[in-house]
C-alpha cells in the first residue's frame, strides 16, 4: 500500500494551475513561512515529509525498548520513576509525530504496518543493546544530546505540524538529556565499579552517537533537496561537528574519556578534529544486520499483534454503543446522529 495516493494529473490547464501553485509554495518556503496541511504542496515534498516524520515517530516508539528493558531493574525508586516517565514521554512523542504524519494523509495504522514489515526505517541507534544501568545515563547524555542537535533546527522546519511538534519534543528531550547526564554524574561520585560502568557505557555509545547524524555529506543523497525545501536546515557534518564540540567539555567535567585518539582541538578551525565512525558498520546496521534490528521489530510486531483483539473490541464497543443509543432516539439512525453519538 503506498503511503500517499498518487495525484491524478491531466495535461493542459491542470499543469498550468500546478505551476502557479508551485510558485506560491516556493514563495512560502522563501519567506521561511510554514506550509500547513490545507496548503498545496508538491507530491515529492509530501512524500519526503511522510518518510521523515514517520521515521521520526517510529524512532520514538522503537526507542522505548532499549530503555524500557531497564525499568524493572532500576536501582532506586527515584531512578525508576525518572526512567518510566522518560519512556512514557517517548510514547507521547510518537503520538504527536504520528498525528503530524496523519495530516499528510496517512494513518497511524498504515505507518505501524510499514514499520513492522520493514518498509520504513527508524533511527539505527536503537539497534544497539543496553547492557548496563549506566546506559540509561549515556543514552540521555549522548543519544538524546545528538537527537536534540538534529531536532532543534527542525523546530523551524517548513511543515507546520512537524515544526510545532518538534518544539514540544525538544523541550522534553533536553529535560531527558539533563536527567541522563545527572545520573552519570551521580554514578561517577559513587564506587569504582560504578565509574567503570559509566566509562564502558560511553565507550560503546560514542561511535553510534556520531552515526546518528547520518552519513557524511558527500554520501547523503537527500540532503540538498531537503535543505532547499526547508525540511532540513543543516547538513549532517555540520551537526556532527556541533555535537562533538559541545560534548567534549561535558565529558571532561564528567571525568570520562571519549574513545577517539584522533579527537583534538584544532585552533585554526576553532573546532575539534575527530575520527570517523566505521561507516561499514553503519550501513550494515541500516540494512538490518545490527545487534538488535530483528529483536526490536519483532517486539513491536508482537505488541501490535497481541493488541489487535483489544483495538477490535474498542471499535466494536463504539459501534455497538452507537447503535444502542440511536435506537433510543425515535428511530433516527442517520449517519450524522451516529457520528455525534460516537464522540460522546
Amino acid at each position: 500500500m503506498p503511503a500517499v495516493a498518487e495525484p491524478e494529473l491531466e495535461p493542459g490547464a491542470e499543469a498550468q494551475l500546478e505551476t502557479q501553485l508551485e510558485a506560491q509554495f516556493e514563495a512560502t518556503i522563501g519567506r521561511k513561512d510554514r506550509i500547513e496541511p490545507r496548503d498545496w504542496m508538491p507530491e515529492a515534498y509530501r512524500r519526503t515529509l511522510v518518510r521523515q516524520v514517520a521515521q521520526h515517530a517510529h524512532s520514538e516508539i522503537i526507542g522505548m525498548q532499549p530503555e524500557g528493558a531497564w525499568i524493572g531493574r532500576a536501582p532506586s525508586l527515584r531512578r525508576k520513576a525518572i526512567l518510566l516517565a522518560k519512556v512514557q514521554d517517548e510514547a507521547g512523542h510518537g503520538l504527536y509525530l504520528y498525528s503530524a504524519a496523519e495530516t499528510l494523509g496517512v494513518s497511524r495504522q498504515e505507518l505501524t504496518e510499514m514499520l513492522i514489515s520493514g518498509r520504513q526505517k527508524y533511527s539505527s541507534i536503537f539497534n544497539y543493546p543496553t547492557l548496563s544501568y549506566a546506559d540509561m545515563g549515556t543514552i540521555g547524555w549522548l543519544v538524546d544530546g545528538a537527537a536534540i542537535c538534529n531536532q532543534v533546527p527542525l523546530c523551524r522546519t517548513s511543515f507546520g505540524p512537524y515544526g510545532r511538534a518538534m518544539i514540544r519534543i525538544c523541550k522534553e528531550e533536553s529535560f531527558h538529556q539533563r536527567q541522563g547526564y545527572e545520573l552519570l554524574m551521580t554514578m561517577m561520585r559513587g564506587t569504582d565499579e560504578q565509574r567503570a560502568m559509566v566509562q564502558e557505557s560511553v565507550d560503546r555509545f560514542w561511535w553510534p552517537s556520531l552515526m546518528m547524524f547520518g552519513p557524511p555529506d558527500d554520501e547523503s543523497p537527500n540532503t540538498a533537496r531537503s535543505m532547499a525545501w526547508g525540511v532540513k536546515t543543516h547538513t549532517n557534518d555540520e551537526l556532527r561537528q556541533r555535537f562533538v564540540d559541545m560534548t567534549v567539555p561535558q565529558a571532561k567535567a564528567l571525568g570520562v574519556t571519549l574513545p577517539d585518539p584522533g579527537l583534538v582541538w584544532n585552533e585554526e578551525r576553532g573546532a575539534h578534529d575527530f575520527g570517523q565512525p566505521d561507516w561499514d558498520e553503519f550501513w550494515e546496521v541500516v540494512k538490518g544486520n545490527g545487534p538488535c534490528n530483528a529483536q526490536r521489530v519483532a517486539h513491536r510486531k508482537k505488541a501490535w499483534d497481541d493488541g489487535a483483539w483489544v483495538r477490535e473490541a474498542a471499535l466494536a464497543f463504539a459501534a455497538g454503543d452507537c447503535r444502542d443509543t440511536s435506537g433510543d432516539t425515535s428511530g433516527d439512525t442517520s449517519g450524522e446522529t451516529s457520528n455525534e453519538t460516537r464522540t460522546v
Binding site: L77, G163, T191
Partner: protein, 320 residues
C-alpha cells in the same frame, strides 16, 4: 497565544546550555533526594511506631509491587494511548510507594535493612531493594503475573476500587503524613478506577473474544479478592489507634462499586473459591495460615523481586 510561526527557539539551540548548572528550573536536579524533605514525621501521641511502620509497609508494598507489574506493559500495550495510561498508573503507584516506604522508615528505623557502613542508599530504597520476599507485606493480588490486557484491566479495577475506599478513609488518619499521602493518592486512584471501569465495560461489550478474555481474567484473579478485606493484626492495631483503616470496614462499599460495574457489563460474579492461606513451619506463624500481609506469597513474588533488586543489590555502596 503568540503566533508559533514567528517562534524562533534560539534559546534551545544549544542542547548543553546550562547542563552543569544546578538551576531551579529543573524538577530533578541533584537535590530532591529525600521524598519527605521538610515534612514533620513525628509519630502521633499514643501510636506505636512499629505498628505505624508496618502498616505503611503494607500499603507501600501493595503499590510498589503492582507498579512493577504494570510497568511491564511499557512498550507492549495494545496501542500508544494505553501504553501511556498504564505507565501513568504505574508511576502514580510508584510515587505512593516511595512516600509510604519513606514514612515507614521515618517512623521506625529498626525495620530498615542494614547495609555496610557509609552506604549512601536512602532508607526507602533499602526497604524496596534489600528485603526478601517473606518480608514483603503486600496482598497477593498485586504480585501474580500480569496476564493479558483484560486481566490487567480486572486487576486495576479490583485493586483501585479497594485502595480508593481505604485511602479515602485514610485522609482522616491521625498521622499527618499518612493523611497527606492518602489525599494525593485519592485523586490518582479515582482516575485508575475510571480507566479500568471504562475498559471493563468496553471489553465486556466489545467482541466475543474480548468478553471471553475478560471473564477469564476475572476468574483468574477472583481467588485473591477476599484476602483484601481480611484484617491483619497490624491493620487492626493501626485502625484502633486512629492512624489506619480496617479493610473489613470498606468491604460493603467496595463490593457495591464492583456490583455496579459488573451489572453494567452484564458479567456475573465468578463462582471461584478464595485462595487458601498456607501454614508456615514456625511457632510465630498465625494459626490460620499465612497470606500476603503475613509475608506468605506466591512463587511469582520472588522472581519479580529478583529482577527489581538485581542492580541495587550488586552495588550496596552505590549511589544512583
Amino acid at each position: 497565544m503568540p503566533d508559533v510561526r514567528t517562534h524562533e527557539p534560539d534559546d534551545h539551540d544549544n542542547a548543553y546550555a546550562g547542563l552543569l548548572v544546578n538551576d531551579t528550573h529543573w524538577a530533578f536536579g541533584t537535590d530532591f533526594e529525600d521524598p519527605l524533605a521538610g515534612v514533620d514525621t513525628t509519630v502521633p501521641d499514643g501510636v506505636d511506631p512499629a505498628t505505624l511502620a508496618a502498616y505503611c509497609l503494607m500499603l507501600g508494598d501493595d503499590a510498589l509491587v503492582l507498579s512493577q507489574r504494570l510497568a511491564e506493559w511499557c512498550s507492549n500495550a495494545p496501542d500508544l494511548e494505553e501504553d501511556i495510561a498504564l505507565s501513568n498508573i504505574a508511576l502514580d503507584l510508584l510515587g505512593q510507594a516511595r512516600l509510604l516506604l519513606a514514612r515507614a522508615a521515618a517512623a521506625d528505623g529498626s525495620q530498615v535493612p542494614a547495609l555496610p557502613d557509609g552506604s549512601p542508599v536512602p532508607d526507602e530504597d533499602r526497604l524496596a531493594f534489600f528485603r526478601d520476599a517473606p518480608q514483603f507485606r503486600n496482598v497477593r493480588l498485586v504480585e501474580v503475573p500480569g496476564g493479558d490486557f483484560a486481566q490487567t484491566v480486572v486487576r486495576i479495577l479490583l485493586f483501585s476500587s479497594w485502595r480508593l475506599a481505604l485511602l479515602d478513609r485514610l485522609t482522616r488518619s491521625r498521622d499527618g503524613v499518612l493523611a497527606a499521602v492518602a489525599a494525593k493518592a485519592v485523586k490518582e486512584l479515582t482516575y485508575h478506577r475510571d480507566f479500568a471501569g471504562r475498559w471493563f465495560l468496553t471489553l465486556a461489550r466489545g467482541t466475543d473474544e474480548s468478553r471471553r478474555r475478560l471473564v477469564a481474567g476475572l476468574d483468574a484473579l477472583w481467588p485473591l479478592w477476599s484476602e483484601l478485606f481480611e484484617t491483619h493484626d497490624v491493620e487492626r492495631a493501626a485502625a484502633r489507634s486512629g492512624i489506619g483503616v480496617d479493610p473489613a470496614d470498606v468491604a460493603a462499599d467496595v463490593e457495591a462499586v464492583l456490583d455496579q460495574v459488573l451489572a453494567a457489563s452484564g458479567v456475573d460474579r465468578p463462582a471461584v473459591a478464595p485462595l487458601a492461606a498456607v501454614q508456615g513451619d514456625g511457632a510465630a506463624q498465625p494459626a490460620h495460615g499465612r497470606k500476603g500481609r503475613d509475608g506468605g506469597h506466591t512463587e511469582a513474588l520472588g522472581a519479580l523481586l529478583a529482577e527489581m533488586q538485581v542492580v541495587a543489590r550488586a552495588h550496596p555502596g552505590g549511589q544512583w
